[in-house]
């Protein structure tokens, strides 16, 4: 179930997994649907594990996109899928706690790590429960139209 809300130029989305869907699958597909919007911060209590599983799902998705690209004759679609594949291939992932601006395109870290240095990013995924005040603090540098996705 998803609920959408808006506040202070940010969009809030609350997502719940239905028990059959893996968090990593959902993250990869949601990031793909969002497209190239800037850096992403994934707040997780298991950064290394979630990075590994999400990257695996991302690569699976990329292969599907490659398959679609090679099976279509639609020129505009080919152009767009080519662009997407280039983006997906070059995306960088990191589970290193940020000590300044985010180096990787997608950074996985604990809430406390992001609170120390609030990330400048367009999308935040909060994958485990933590204090509301912390969510406000780590989203404080997000630009207008940024999206905060909370998994409930």
């Amino acid at each position: 179930m998803v609920e959408a809300g808006k506040m202070h130029g940010l969009y809030i989305e609350q997502r719940s997994l239905n028990g059959k869907t893996l968090l990593s699958w959902d993250l990869a597909h949601h990031m793909y649907a969002r497209g190239q919007q800037g850096k992403v911060a994934v707040v997780t209590d298991k950064p290394v594990e979630l990075l590994a599983s999400t990257k695996k799902q991302w690569l699976k998705l990329m292969r599907q996109v490659q398959r679609e690209r090679s099976s279509t004759l639609n020129a505009m679609r080919i152009g767009e899928l080519t662009r997407q594949i280039a983006w997906m291939q070059n995306l960088t992932f990191s589970a290193k706690a940020p000590d300044d601006i985010l180096e990787a395109d997608i950074t996985f870290a604990l809430a406390d790590d992001f609170v120390r240095i609030p990330p400048v990013c367009s999308t935040i995924y909060a994958t485990y429960p933590f204090a509301r005040e912390k969510l406000h603090m780590l989203a404080s540098w997000m630009p207008k139209n940024g999206v905060v996705v909370e998994y409930i």
């Binding site: 179930m1 998803v2 609920e3 959408a4 809300g5 808006k6 506040m7 202070h8 940010l10 969009y11 809030i12 989305e13 997502r15 959902d26 597909h29 949601h30 793909y32 649907a33 969002r34 497209g35 190239q36 919007q37 599907q64 996109v65 398959r67 679609e68 279509t72 639609n74 505009m76 679609r77 152009g79 767009e80 899928l81 997407q84 509301r132 005040e133 969510l135 406000h136 989203a139 404080s140 139209n145 999206v147 996705v149």
Partner: protein
């Protein structure tokens, strides 16, 4: 960022229109997608994410259309698509 706005003050629309299939859906069946040619966020049916190859095609077609629209509306500067502003001015 105000704590109040994060909680019950948020305006949740009763119905939204999916950017891919144009169906009216309730906001609890929606998800946020890419930025469109006007710089606004696109809302999609949450179910599209499970659409597999069909979703990939639909999203690609949508993005291609939005890119073309942006290209025509912004003085043929496709590099600005995605919300980025002008980084430099050339003054002669």
């Amino acid at each position: 960022m105000s704590i109040l706005k994060l909680a019950s003050d948020s305006t949740v629309p009763a119905e939204v229109i999916c950017g891919l299939c144009s169906r009216r859906i309730t906001s609890d069946c929606a998800t946020f997608g890419p930025i469109n040619a006007e710089g606004n966020i696109t809302i999609l049916c949450a179910g599209h994410l499970w659409g597999g190859l069909t979703f990939i095609d639909e999203l690609a077609d949508y993005m291609a259309k939005e890119r073309e629209k942006f290209f025509r509306n912004s003085g043929n500067n496709v590099m600005r698509f995605g919300g980025g502003g002008q980084d430099a001015w050339l003054v002669y």
